[in-house]
Each structure stands twice: as C-alpha cells, then as structure tokens.
Amino acid sequence: MLPASFALLQEAAGVAHPLAGTAARWMWALPLLPLLGFVINGALSIVSAYHAGPADPGAHPHDAHPSVEERHEAHTGHDVTGGGAHGDDHHVVVRHRFAGLATIIGPGVMVLAFGLAVAIFAAMRGAGDAALHTPFVQRYFEWMPVGDLRIDAAFQLDQLSMVMILVITGVGMLIHLFSVGYMQDDPSYPRYFAYLNLFVAFMLVLVMGASYPVMFVGWEGVGLCSYLLIGFWYLDKANADAGKKAFIMNRIGDFGFLVAMFMLYANIGTLEFEGVRAQATALGPSVVTWICLFFFLGCTGKSAQIPLYTWLPDAMAGPTPVSALIHAATMVTAGVYLIARSNFLFSLSPVASLTVVVIGALTAIFAASIGLKQWDIKKVLAYSTVSQLGYMFIGVGSGAYVSGVFHLVTHAFFKALLFLGSGSVIFAMHRAYHATHSAEDAQDMRNMGGLRRYMPWTFWLMLAATLAIAGFPPFAGFFSKDAILGTVFLRARESTLADAHWLGIPGNIILYACYVLGLAAAFMTAVYMTRMLIYTFLGPNRSGERERDFLGEAPWIMTGPLLVLGVLSVAGGWLNLPESIPIGRVGLLEHWLDPVVGESTLRITHGAAVEASSTIEYSLIGAAVLIALAGIVVAWVMLRPERLVPKREARQEEGFERVLANKYYVDEIYDDAVVQPTVGVSRNLLWEGIDQGLIDNVMVKYIGTGVPRLFGWLGSQLQSGQVGTYAWVLVVGVLFVLGAFTIR
C-alpha cells in the first residue's frame, strides 16, 4: 500500500516540475542516509552495551545476578558509560569494539549525503533560473489527513532549502570527520555518531519540509538531538542539566511555533508553505502580526535570542564538535531559516519584523558584552554565537532575508572553524592533563597561553576565523555583516518598517538605533575574539611544566576539516559580493534566492530595489571596517596575557566585570523568578495544598467520608442497648411521622 501511494503522490506533485527527472528526485534520500547511519550506529551502540538480564528478575534479588567481577569486566570493556573523554575519571583508554564500523558508517553517510546534495545542486543549476520559480515538492504519504486538514509527509526543494542543505551536509560532513579524531577514545563512540547522524537527518527534515508541521518535526527533532548530545556524558549532572535546560527552553519556543501554526490553520486552513504563501495576503494585519510574533517566539528558543538564550552557553557541556555543528553552524540558525522561509508572512507585518530586529540587536550587544569576560574558551564562542545570531535576526527582521541567510552561511563556516579549532585546543589540553593525571580545567583560557608554538596550524586557522568574525575585510564575515548593517541603515531611510511604529516609537528611529547597536556589538566582537586569540595562543604558556611536553597538534583527521573551513572562512564572502565591491561576480546568493524572498523584499522596500548612493555605501563599509579594526587594536593594546595567572590562582572579579562574568545573573534571575516559584507553587500549593489538602482531605476525607461517619457515630450513640432509649426514639419517630402527615 505504501509504495503505491508513494509513487502516485509523487507523480501527481512532481510531474510538471523541471527537477522531476533530475537528481533532485532522490532528495528523500538526503535525510534517509543519515537516518540509516543513526539506525546502524544506534544498533551497534545498544548491542554492544546490552547484556540480557535474568529471565526472572524478581527472583532472589541477590543471587540471580552474574558475579560482580564478571559484570564489572564487561562494563569497563565496552559499555556505554557516561564518563567519556570529558570527565575526570582517568579511565583506561580502550577503543570501542565497533569503532571501526561506526567510523565508516557515521561520516560515510554524511559523505554520501553531501555528494547527493551537490548533485542536486548541480541539477538545480542545470535547470536554470526561470524554471525554478516554484519549489519542487515531493509528497510521500498522507501524514495527518483529518477533515479539511491535510498534512502530507512532503519535502520541498527550492533555492533556500538548497543553501541550507549544502551547509548542513557540507559542514556536517567536515564535523563528522573531525569527530572521528576528537571522539576516538570515547567508550560510547557509536552512540555519539548515532546521535550526530540523527541530528543531521532531522536538520534536513527541518529545512526540506514542505509544510510547517513537517518542519516542526525537524525543529523538535534537532532539539532532541541537541538534548541527547549536550547530555552525552550524562553521568555529570551539569551536562544532564544543560541538556534538559536546552530542551525545555526550546520547548518554550516550540509553544510559540505551535500556536503560530494553529493560528495559520484557523485562519487560512493550510499549513503548507506554498499554500500559506499564496494566501498570506488574505490575513488581517493583526493576525499576521500575532502569527509572526509566535513564530518568532519559536525562533528565540531555537536560535537562542533574548529571553530564551541562556541554554546555549550551557549547551557547551556537550562534546565540542557538537557545539560546532549544532550550537553554531546549523541548528541554532533554524530560527533564521524559519523567518527567511516565512518571509511572505513577516514582510506583511512591519511590527513583527521590527520586533525581530530589536530583539536581534539587543541580543547581539548583550551577548557580546558577556563574551568580553568569559574565561572558558567555549563559553566565549557560545556568547559569540548568540551575538552573531542576533545579527542574523537583524538581517531577516529588517527584510534583508538574503543578508541574513548570507551571514548564516558564512557564520557556519567561521564559527564551525572556531569551535573545531577550540576543540583541537581542548583536545590537546585534555590530552596533556590526562597524561599527567591533572584535574585542571582544559577549557579555561587562563590555563592556556602561548599555544601557537605547539599547534601552529590551529593558530593560523583560528586567526583567519577570528578576522572573519570580527568583520575584517576581505574575510567572509566582513561581507555578510556589512550587508546586514548596511541594509538596516537603508531600511531606516525607506521601508515599510520605517513607516511603522513599534510600541509607539517610529520604526526608523528603532532601525537607526539598531544599526548603532549592531556597530557596537561588532566592536565588542572584535575585542573579545582578539582577546580569545591572545589569551589562547599568544603570551606565555600557563598550562604547567609537565603538561607542556604533551601539547601538540591534533591528528590530520581533525586538522583536515579545519583547513577546509579555513578556506571557506576566507573566501565565503565571494558568495554574495556587494555591488560596491565588485571583486568577482556580484550578488550570487541574492540572485539565487530571489525566487524565494525577492517578492517579500520588494514588499518591504515599497517595491523598489535597494538603492543607495555609493557615498553612503562606502561610508557604511568604512564605518564597519573601522569598528572592526578599532576592536582588534583596543584588545591588542589593553590585554596583557603575560599578567594572566592560571585559573586556580585567579582572583575574583570586581564590580561590573563580575556582573559580566556572571552573565548579568540572568540564569539566577530565571531560576529565582520562574523555576523556583513554579516548582514551589506546584509542590506546596497545587500538590500538597489542593491535591492532598483540599481535595483529598477536606473534600473526600472530611466531607465525603466524614458526613456518613458522623451519622454513623450519632446513630451508634443512640443505640445504647437501653430499651428505654429505644422506646423514646420510637416515640419521637411517631411524633415526626404524625408531623409529616400534617404536611400537605
């Protein structure tokens, strides 16, 4: 039944489309390949860890088990332990017995998927621009056919999803390869690849889904994988906490996503992108604003924006390649993708778009400022990610969907590189500390310093990435960030956003303010990135005498992907060169995405193409470059790595530094203001108060059973055994009966 309907649905949908006969018809294999990897790796993992219990687990609880020694041996050999490379348990390094197979499967499916993605990309290029004005939709089966609600399991291929697919499979493949080295000694090696494969599968579902619900599958699926991978070394409570926090915070966002879907369905009866796009203009302005705001709530969760950003820094508890793939390059950008995908909705609601811009700008500056005082190398990068995501939202919020996506792509390159580079560093540090049985923190920059000597490749690549993120021309980040800031400035001059009001404030003022905030954040970005580079790689080494001997470059399987990402970080800007800097083909990405977002962009700009005088253009570019340079210089001048002491000798920060180091105490505020009250109210008021107190005691015990018991007690007191009493009761009864007879 399934194959038949499969073919049928597919034919009905795809027969007329130019991509129907091309490699694109295999697009269903994109998520299926990693899914297959997940299944195999998962099976390897669980099979290797599983020891069947006794047939009668309840019998004689102490004798029925295999001998302790036997089982212990089994565990240390090849069990899924949650200790992992990260813990301080100094386990005996034994590679997993299926490590070889997992190495082939895990990255292997990614290579295949990337190959397929490239082939599909080629097919799309071959099909020509004109042919691709409608997306290529494949329907596989009816997923939720209920009444007039019809949700199909369908994928959609268009220019936007193609970009995302390439980033996900490409960067994903590199990170898988990197992981082979990074995770080589982990006892749960296949489990790691299972999760990672599953993540890619869900991420592809997210970007390929042809409707919001299918996208939501991927949306929550990646959240799940994030949860699993953050808590990968689950025996550490902090890791498990971080995973759970990520999931729950994401769920708050998902709540928004869900409500937005409900509103869409209630108002226009469809949830497919094409259907919504066709009918979006029929929505009332306030409805569309509410829909967009709820969608954006989803984005703040998934993409770690104010107020739901706090999970992302904690998510660094996961293995570093995970941070690179999920918490920098792909998953966290899903929110940006969602808005870009929903451009037909957001462009209809200037208020919602302004909200996106404001939140994006605030997040950018807020997170950047926290990044200034972090010591954990991954935390710096995490706040940097939050901040950069803010930029992307400024972009997509202000209707510069192309710029937003552009920054998403370049950010994927350089942030992945930064994370993987930091991974290399941590790997080296951990190896060194492990060799000397030291319990020092392998991620704290105060324990690093001068690593340039020991890992030059990593240093140079990190330098490139740092320059890219700082917006230093001609690295990738320069172009994308400049495109965003420039667009915001232009939108402030002329757009539907500028005409609108947000909380009573004129839109253009807000946009100008956001532009300034963006510049300030860019300055801070340059500062903290330079700071990270200086503290990590320059100055004297603070790792310790003995450890120094063990520091060194990571194996080629790790540095290789770094190299590729380095190239991309340097050259990524050429994907979408502005017209003002024609050092290659101009506006490639803009042209590519035009069928998807062009119409909406025009709607925001009152139908006019983006036009600015070259004076403004160049001064904007100049401002951006100056800011970046200023940041680097300030950091270079102010920071003194030789004065830094290792973590264990460090003093407490004072004043505002302390506030920054403690991330403005937002976690604590959330805990005190939301989490603890909720738990407290639930426990004391709802459970003990209402459930046990009011319902069980008062209603049931006192009233429900108490009243019959009271009657019983009274009656039983009268039943004294005295005939006299009985006669009295009888006579009283007689009087009552006679009384009742007088009632008419």
Partner: protein, 557 residues
C-alpha cells in the same frame, strides 16, 4: 484476507468471540486450579486443616512464591495463550473493518431481558475498533509484564485479568445502555481485586478509593440510564428501551432534565477520565497497583471515561453538554487538568505517581479535544487516547521492570543507571519522548490534532493547554535525568540487570507502535474519521434541534 475472513463468518461471530475468549480462558485457569493445579509444584503437605502452620493461622499459600514452586506456570501460560489468541482474532478486525461504512459494524443484537427492554446489542465503529485493538494488544503485554512480577496466587490474578478484558471490551462494544452499564461495572471488581491483593503497601486504601470514586459516578449514571430508558419507553407496552440508536434518534428530554442527566453521566465519566478535581484516586491506584494493573488502568480504563463522553454523555445530551456555561466549565476543568497535572507531576518523588499525574494532563487533552468539537480535535482526542495507552502503558511496564529489580519506585533511589542498564535507558527515553509528544512519535500526532482543531473554536483554552508542552518536557525529562543520568551515587544499583529478552519482547510492539503512529498515522485516522465526523455532526445537529424543539415547544404557551 477479507475474503477469507468473510468465508469463516468472521463478521458475525467476531465480537461475541472477543467477549467470550477471555471468559473461556478464565474458566480454563479455574479448572486447572481446581483440578489440583495449584498444588502441582508445591511441596507435598498435609491438608491445610491439619497442618501445624494452618493451625497457627499462618496460611500455607499466601507466602508461597508460585514462580519458584512452578505453580504459576500453567496459569500464566494459559492466560498468555488466551490473550494472544484474543489479539490475533481481534487483528482480523483491521482488514475486515470498512472505514467508509458509517453504520455499526459486526453487529449482534440479542434479546436479553425482554421485560425491561434490555437487549444484548453490540457493534463497533472506528473509535471502538481502535480501542479494542489497543485493549487486546495491551492485555498481551500486561500479562507478559506480570510474568514474574506476580508471584503469589497467580491463577486468580490471571483469571481476573481475563475477566477484566471482557468487561473493558464490552464497554467499547455496547450499543445498549443497560449493557454498557453492566460492562462498566464488570471491569470494576477485577481491578479492585488486582489492586487490593497484588498491590503495594497502601493497597487497601488505594483499592477502596478507586472503587468508591468510580462507584459514586457510576451509580448516578445508573439512575440516569434508567431515566432515559423510561423516557424512550414504548408508549403502548410501557416497556423501556435502552437501545443507543433508538434513544439517540428519538428521545428528547427537557433542557433541565438533560442538564441533570448529563451531570450524572458527567460524574461517572469524569471520575474515570479522571478530570480535575475528581482525579485523586488515580495517583493512589496507580502507585499501589501491580504493573499489569497500572498498565491496564492507564492504557485502557481511563479511556473508558473519555469513550463514555464520546459515545454517550455528549451525543445524548448535546444541548446540555454544549450549553455555553457547561462547556466552558468542562473545558476549563480540562485545561486546568492539563496544566495542573503537569505541574503536580513535576514535583513528585515517586515515578509512578509522576506518570499518574501526567495521565491527568494527557487526558485533559482528550477532554479538550472532545469539547472543542471539531473534526480535528475529536480525531486528535481519539489519537491521544490511543497514544496515551501506548506510551503510558509502556512507561508503567518499564517502571514495573525496574521495580522488580530494585523494589523502589522512588526517583531518588536511582541515578545514572543508564550506565548499567543501557537498554532500559534507551527504551525509557524513547517512551518518555513519545509521552512528551515529540514529533515523529505517536504522542505528537494526538496533541497536535487536538490543539489545532480546538484552536478554531476555543483559542484561549487551547493556548493555555499548549503550555503543557513545556511542562511535559520539564517533568518527564527531569525525572528521567534523575533516574537514568546524573552521577551514579547508589552502589546498590551496581547490580541492576538490564532487560531480559521477554521484557524486550514486551517493549518491541510498543516501540513499533510509537514510531508507526508517529510517522504514518493515516490508516488509523482514516478508520476513525467517520466516528469523529459523526460525533461532531450529531452533536451539533442535536444541539440545535434540541434547542429548537425546546423553543418551539415552550413558546406557544
């Protein structure tokens, strides 16, 4: 397949057979016990009257571990075989059921007590079909899950389980209100015994609470059923009728009476669902019940409440049920239940109790779906019923498995055990995720449909209910973190054994169902489509016609 089934007359005998097979199995168990089976493996001993132990008042049989002595063997084998036969026989319903036929399928109609107009009328529609299949499946798993859990008085236990099955299936099939009531009560007693005899320390309290709560509601329902039966009586002979179809088509009661009657039905079903604030029996019953009891309770018996709303309470008295005030109150209670259940389950220390409160939350979704009255929400409600049966059943089975090993349901007794019981951990995580409603698992489908359908008619309630996706993640993830993850601090857990093949066999169909219903629920939805649509149209139609009759009936005076 269908041809074969028709050739054996499947459509004629299937429903009575489904009711009869468990009874037959119970009879066989009873015979086996009566013919000395109980003593087969026990050490030879004197007649109980004479033995010294008996004289001292010590029962020679209470403390006997019948698994160890081998007495349990035949009982559990017979029970399992019966349940498997039942399940296989019921599977034929899937192909034989015609999703496009809106009438009752596989009907059987026999006079039972003609003097009172009581008939033995059974038949099913799509939602009953799914509930029946769920029941037969869960019973197989529940009996397998009791395989080593129930160690004493196994014959009685399995016989009660079989009788219980008949009762539950009977409720789903009944098309006669009298029969419905009888079946409704029939399932109460076995469950009372199952909790009361094989339950935990506080089992007496819990079982009595369960019984009394249920009975308060059902007795009121009894009075209401008599009232409607009399309202539908044949004017010539004066004999009442309890035929569902007849009553649905012909009986119109005054709005005041409808309100009271609906109230009576509401009490019966709301206790069973259970709706806030009638839910407090549930945590106690769940916690104290043996695994199979909890599983059956959660997977099937709670659904009987919502099934009652769908089948009886709302369609019979739509003017009362859909009265703006009544509906708002019920929706309010449903939404309170959703959020309240989630919040309270967050702070539980006993994992079973946590799952019990989560049931309150999940069943709130069902109520929301029913009373939102759109095709999507009703279908969603039906899906939640199925999904909750699968997911929560699986959760209770898993808890039972770990309880058998460690004899503690307290969350704090565990921690980090994913290291020693990885298969258990993987399954618990998967099942929890499905309970949370992760897309791609069954849980999502139901909740999503309920909410998206309900938003059309009752948006504010729906938005509040949607917040439960957050709390659900909070309580379950927090719980499994404290059980599976975190530091491994309890040395006594070092020797926990992972699941054995039998336990994997129990979980396998549930896992398949979780994924299947999450990815491809369309076949299930198609089969329930007509039921849901008919529910919506009947309720809407009758609500308007009843109010019209009332208005035209009263205005001339």
């Amino acid at each position: 397949m269908n041809g074969f089934l028709t050739s054996v007359g499947y459509d004629r005998w299937i429903l009575p057979a489904l009711l009869g097979i468990p009874l037959l199995g119970a009879l066989v168990i009873w015979l086996q016990a009566a013919l000395g089976g109980r003593d087969a493996g026990a050490a030879p001993r004197a007649a109980p009257e004479e033995s010294a132990a008996a004289r001292a008042g010590v029962d020679p049989r209470t403390a006997v571990d019948e698994i160890a002595t081998g007495v349990a063997g035949p009982a559990r084998v017979i029970a399992l075989a019966t349940f498997i036969v039942e399940f296989i026989v019921s599977l034929g319903l899937w192909p034989a059921f015609d999703p496009a036929d809106g009438r009752w399928q596989f009907p059987v109609d026999i006079a039972w007590i003609p003097s009172w107009g009581v008939r033995f009328t059974i038949g099913i529609d799509g939602m009953a079909l799914m509930m029946i299949l769920l029941t037969t499946l869960i019973m197989v798993l529940a009996s397998l899950g009791s395989w080593t859990y129930i160690r004493t008085r196994t014959h009685s236990f399995y016989a009660l389980m079989l009788v219980l099955t008949t009762g539950m299936l009977g409720v789903f099939m009944s098309l006669d209100l009298f029969l419905f009531y009888v079946m409704w009560e029939v399932m109460l007693v076995p469950m009372y015994f199952i909790i009361g005899i094989w339950g935990g320390e506080n089992r007496l309290y819990a079982s009595l609470k369960f019984f009394i709560y249920t009975m308060v509601g059902s007795m009121l329902m009894l009075a209401a059923i008599v009232y409607i039966g009399l309202a539908a009586r044949n004017p010539a002979t004066g004999i009442p009728t309890f035929s569902y179809d007849y009553i649905l088509q012909n009986v119109v009661v005054s709005p005041t009476a409808a309100l009271w009657l609906f109230g009576a039905f509401f009490m019966a079903f709301a206790v069973k669902v259970p709706m806030f604030p009638f839910h407090t029996w549930l945590p106690d019953a769940h916690v104290e019940a043996p695994t199979a009891g909890s599983v059956v309770l959660a997977s099937i018996m709670l659904k009987l409440g919502t099934f009652g709303f769908l089948r009886l309470a709302v369609p019979l008295f739509p003017s009362a049920a859909m009265n703006e005030t009544v509906r708002s109150i019920i929706l309010g209670l449903a939404v309170i239940g959703i959020v309240y259940g989630a919040l309270v389950s967050m702070v539980q220390t006993d994992f079973k109790k946590l799952v019990a409160y989560s049931s309150v939350s999940h069943l709130g979704f069902v109520m929301l779906g029913i009373f939102a009255l759109t095709v999507q929400s009703v279908q969603g409600a039906l899906m939640v019923m199925i999904n909750h049966g699968i997911s929560t059943g699986a959760l209770f089975l898993l808890i039972g498995m770990i309880y058998e090993r460690r004899h503690s349901r307290l969350i704090e007794a565990y921690g980090g055990i994913a290291r020693v019981v990885p298969m258990f951990a993987a399954l618990l995580t998967l099942v929890s995720l499905s309970s949370i409603g992760l897309p791609g698992t069954n849980g999502f489908i139901g909740e999503f449909l309920v909410l998206i359908g309900a938003f059309k008619t009752v948006p504010i309630f729906t938005i509040i209910a949607t917040t439960a996706v957050i709390f659900a993640a909070a309580y379950l993830l927090w719980a499994i973190q404290r059980i599976l993850f975190n530091a491994f601090t309890k040395p006594e857990n070092e020797h926990l054994a992972d699941l054995n093949p039998r336990e994997l066999l129990i979980m396998a169909p549930l896992v398949v169902a979780i994924i299947w219903l999450g990815v491809y629920p369309a076949p299930v939805l198609r089969r329930m489509q007509l039921s849901a649509e008919r529910f919506v149209t009947v309720v809407q139609g009758r609500a308007t016609s009843q109010s019209r009759v009332v208005s035209t009936g009263e205005r001339p005076r």
